[in-house]
Amino acid sequence: MSTQDTKSLWADAFSRLIRDRWALISLVIVIVYAGIAVLATIGWGLPDWKTSQASEYLPPSAQFWLGTDLFGRDVFAKVIHGTKIAMSVGLVTSLIAIPIGVFIGAIAGYFGGWIDDIISWFITTFSSIPNIMLLISITLIMGKGLVSVYLALGITGWVGLARLIRGEVMKHKEREYVHAASAIGGGHFRKLFIHILPNVTHLVIINTSLQFQTAIKSEVILSYLGLGVQGEPSWGTMIDDARQELARGVWWQLAGATFAMFLVVLAFNLLGDALRDSLDPKLKGK
């Protein structure tokens, strides 16, 4: 019985999601970006960004849609390749932050008592340090580059989700279905991971879409601070380059990277809202 119900809940949520035109468009945009990122990773079928093809700072033309940069490289190709960094920063930081957030929040909410006291203290402590200070400190200490960007954003990203999951698990653990699970002899592990967690999955999905856009936006800030990705085009370093370029009237690198980022962050934003509407059981039928 329960499998049937779970399935219909997800199917129902999905059908509500794609009925929303904007959500559908956003989903397509995200999938296209992900596809480009995969192509850039395996290095197949995308324009070449590495070689200098023309003189420096050519304005946009039919040949170079977004002009060229300081080294005569095709800016459009750089924007396309930047997708790889952006999407991978979103993905890897989600893979770090979300398991930590779910695990810590679930344990605190489920067990309560002194375990909750300690974890709540840890969460309060962690969230007391402003995010930007933690980001700066971690990247400064780990050194420049992609790995420290991943780590810094991953380590700082779990706090909000842990809080949410903790609150939600607390509510669920007193529900009848959990008592029923105890009655048939289910242990803590079984009750928490098999019964309760699937009921808070919607929070995880919504949070992933949030984590992606936060990560993509933070990558730009870290790049501006000189802590970002080296040796590969990223939207952050391209926007950072524009500091020197704008006064010379070179706007295309800034415009290209900003627009590419705008589109995918907007898509994640709209998708996040739509997911919240379609997955939140409280809003069902409204």
Binding site: T124, T125, S128, L134, I136, M142, I221, I239, F262, N269
Partner: protein, 311 residues
């Protein structure tokens, strides 16, 4: 109430110990030895040893941790490695420029967002609501760095309406320097603020008491201002007050783009010169500010809503 505040103040102690621990782990355990970095390539072993002694890095780890904890309670952060200045003095000097930028911008953006969200809530579901909501989401999707670059280039460089960068601490003069970064701050805050306040207000608008207020013949505007806004105050207060510590930290990016010598600028300079004590001090201070203001939020609840009893 008093016992509650005292209890919360006491709870600050373990949190400050925790914050100090995270900062200690980052800078004293994970980070490499700063002495060779500070002395350059040609330092002798003796010089490195002396410097480590001087910086307190030869102490046992526990003693180093206690140094961080002590600094959180005494506000004595020692001297900057880069400028040799007393850190708390640097922070005192940086506070004024930061606050002249962030406080007016913060107040204007908060009032403006609440007004806008009331307008949006009034026209909920109509064209204005949808347009403003979309603009907020779209505005939030653009990188803050791109905003700053574009505004600085266009309004200050191209049109010459504002100073491109710099700062003067005297009263009327600083306005011309903080105006443009202030405007950018407001533009950046409007999106998230309006979206949040709108949700909060709409949560209230379908409550029974609102129906009662309408039923007794009150106009929609009176209902919004007198009933809905009042009841929406708790989440609004939380949201607003908890941002104040970040005003103290300063607008990191804005200050650095516009060369305003505030706390954000100090932090970034410290970042560029690997000036650990300054970054540690800023992290400790901003965390303490955060803890104090979250206590303040809880106390303000009782003023906004008499039903909330603090135990």
């Amino acid at each position: 109430m008093t016992t509650y505040i005292i209890r919360r103040l006491l709870y600050m102690i373990p949190v400050i110990f925790g914050v100090s621990f995270i900062i200690f782990v980052l800078f004293n355990v994970v980070a490499g030895d700063p002495a060779p970095l500070l002395l350059g390539k040609h330092a002798t072993a003796q010089q490195i040893h002396d410097l480590r002694e001087q910086l307190g890095l030869n102490k046992p780890l526990f003693a180093q941790y206690m140094d961080v904890v002590k600094s959180a309670f005494t506000f004595d952060f020692g001297r900057s490695w880069a400028t040799r200045q007393d850190i708390i003095e640097m922070i005192r000097q940086g506070a004024w420029p930061s606050l002249t930028l962030t406080i007016p911008a913060f107040m204007i953006s908060t009032v403006l967002s609440i007004l806008l969200s009331l307008v949006v809530a009034f026209y909920r579901g109509k064209g204005i609501d949808l347009t403003i909501r979309f603009l907020c989401i779209a505005g939030q999707s653009i990188s803050s760095v791109a905003y700053i670059l574009f505004f600085q280039y266009f309004f200050a460089y191209k049109l010459g309406w504002f100073e491109i960068s710099g700062y003067e601490p005297e009263f009327p003069m600083f306005l011309s320097y903080v105006a443009l970064p202030g405007i950018i701050w407001i533009v950046l805050s409007l999106g998230p603020d309006v979206r949040f306040f709108r949700t909060v207000i709409l949560d209230e608008i379908y409550q029974d008491y609102v129906r009662t207020a309408r039923a007794k013949g009150l106009g929609e505007i009176t209902v919004l201002l007198k009933h809905v806004l009042r009841n929406a105050m708790i989440p609004i207060i939380t949201y607003v007050v908890i941002q104040i510590p970040f005003l103290i930290l300063g607008a990191l990016l804005l200050e650095s783009f516009f060369s305003i010598p505030g706390l954000g600028g100090i932090t970034l300079n410290a970042l560029n010169s690997s000036d650990f004590p300054v970054i540690k001090a800023m992290a400790v201070l901003s965390s303490i500010a955060y803890i104090l203001f979250s206590l303040l939020t809880d106390v303000l609840y009782t003023l906004a809503d008499p039903r909330v009893k603090l135990k």
